[in-house]
């Protein structure tokens, strides 16, 4: 008998009698009035930062102020062509090692934990959001859900090869519980929340 059959036979013989799945209806409706506000607060608490902006132009201005001319910025967004390398694919992801900043469009944010959900069709290469020294994600301000339950409701049966929640910069506290940002992945994480009605004078 193969190991597969052996394992399955033993498991079947030993598994207890049928127990039903519980319903996934939380007893309290903890949805905040303004999920994007909570999202920003939590993101800042976990070492990330957020800007509420009116659109791509404003994002470009902020990034131009922060990143010196000549550093490698990679994006999938045509609107940033003036300051970044716009790409749809790289033959070898290892060549992304010198990317200073990746700017990508995530699908939505989660208020309770400051995470953004992004699928591989928005990553250019799967490695990019991890290998870049800094990461900026762009979502629409209205695309913030309250909890992880709402997040999976939104994901539904989406078909992706790879998808990930990213909550803040890569970090570790393995040395005496001292928090250090920038373990292996990005040392900083910025989320741009786009709100067309936003006046650029009043951004966070």
């Amino acid at each position: 008998m193969s190991s597969r059959d052996k394992i399955l036979t033993t498991v079947k013989g030993n598994q207890p009698e049928q127990r039903a799945l519980p319903a996934l209806i939380p007893p309290v409706d903890a949805a905040p009035n303004d999920p994007s506000k909570q999202f920003v607060e939590v993101l800042e608490a976990i070492g990330g930062r957020a800007f509420i902006v009116s659109g791509w132009q404003r994002i470009g201005t902020i990034l131009k102020e922060e990143y010196a001319h000549g550093v490698r910025i990679v994006t999938s967004c045509d609107a940033l062509a003036g300051i970044a390398e716009v790409a749809a694919h790289f033959a070898d992801a290892h060549t992304l090692d010198n990317v200073e900043l990746a700017v990508l469009e995530a699908r939505f944010g989660v208020a309770e934990n400051g995470a953004c959900w992004i699928t591989e069709d928005r990553m250019i290469e799967r490695a990019l959001p991890f290998i870049a020294q800094n990461l900026a994600l762009v979502i629409h301000k209205k695309d913030v859900v309250a909890t992880m339950h709402a997040a999976y409701e939104r994901i539904g049966d989406a078909d992706y090869g790879f998808g990930t929640f990213i909550a803040g910069p890569s970090k570790t506290a393995d040395i005496e519980q001292s928090l250090v940002l920038g373990a292996h992945g990005p040392r900083s994480m910025t989320v741009f929340l786009v709100d067309e009605e936003m006046s650029d004078a009043g951004f966070y």
Binding site: L24, P129, M148, Y152, F162, I166, D174
Partner: protein
Amino acid sequence: MSKKDHASLADAFNKDEPRVDWHDKTLWFIREKRDRAAQKVPEWEWLRSTASAIKDNVLSNLSEYLTQFEAQAQRNGVVVHWAADAKEHNDIVYGLLKKHGVDRMVKSKSMLTEECHLNEFLSEQGIEVIDTDLGERVVQLAGEPPSHIVLPCIHKKKEEIGEIFHEHLGTPAGNADPQFLTHAARLHLREKFLTRRAALTGVNFAIAETGEFVVCTNEGNADMGAHLADIHIACMGIEKLIPLREHLGVFLRLLTRSATGQPVTTYSSHFRRPRPGQEMHVVLVDNGRSRHLGRKDFRNSLKCIRCAACFNTCPVYRRSGGHSYHTAVAGPIGSILSPNLDMKAYSDLPFASTLCGSCSNVCPVKIDIHEQLYRWRQVIVQEGHAPAAKKMAMRTMSWVLSNPSVYHTAGKAGRWFMLNAPFTVNNGLNPWWKGRDMPEAPKESFGQWYKKNRK
């Protein structure tokens, strides 16, 4: 005592009292962070009961979920392997590496591979394995196993880590700054990520419905390894299955809040299909889990999601250190999982507890940990694995307590010795005296007092 059991290993750890205090405080600090995170979620108890109920359903349908997962994963282009035990698991991993002519691999955290002693096995076959989680890399360079499943080098002081890095990574002697050391490790490990063709990761959750699996890290090391490698091998115990994708909403809300007090890990990565040109393998490992499933009193421990909240809260773990458990998964949960793997070798672990119950109270999937610890004690004694000294003591006690005249004589003798020759009991030969002051002996027994005062 020649055998390395929890008590003697804990004794060794306890020789350095300031370090024990530091270890105790560090872990309690994490427990407090967990409390604050849990208290911010008003439906926390609902989450725990729901997670526990989902896992009940998993255990009662595990064979179906396993075959469903296999079919879905295969449809996604993932190769599924089955390993009955640790040896078969190690052989499968080695076979895959050999087939691709790979002799160097990066690995992210996987307690399963610790359980299977994969690193030692691969190193004997001439394959270099680099652990890429910072804490795991520290203990790997130190030649030690992890002492905690979430915080592998929690027993090490930063000065010791500075020394290890000075020796192995060439950092300046005497530099023990966590920021600096982490940066040195980042540079050291980035080179490994960029040059290794194979990456092994653990699995936090595997979804029967979709055939995808989820890996959670804060550092991003699992993703750096997997996305830059030609071949990704993910190893998981068969109990890591959950039925539906939407169940991740429950487990991801609980996992990191329970583990470190963060609202979620930095990365919760969902792997469903290999990227073009990449090979993705999942190894489903039994290694005693199917047998454990048949133990009615103990099967609940298979619900564990490896958050380590029970470690951080345990008064014994905090004061004895992870290495005193001499097993891959230490702490209260390790003490109820390990006897299933080898009851004789781990017969000491269910006794490494005060049965205070704090572990059960913090467990995010409501495993009755302290009750199982108590039940394992019964099984271990019945099966004849209790230590000789304990068996002898129990037999003597039962003889004394069932013979009134012996009992009275023994009581009299005990009181006399404690009053007139306290050094005969206040010494290291008396296990009760260790860590306790002996009581002041009364002049007479209760029996004698009662006889005198009965009117």
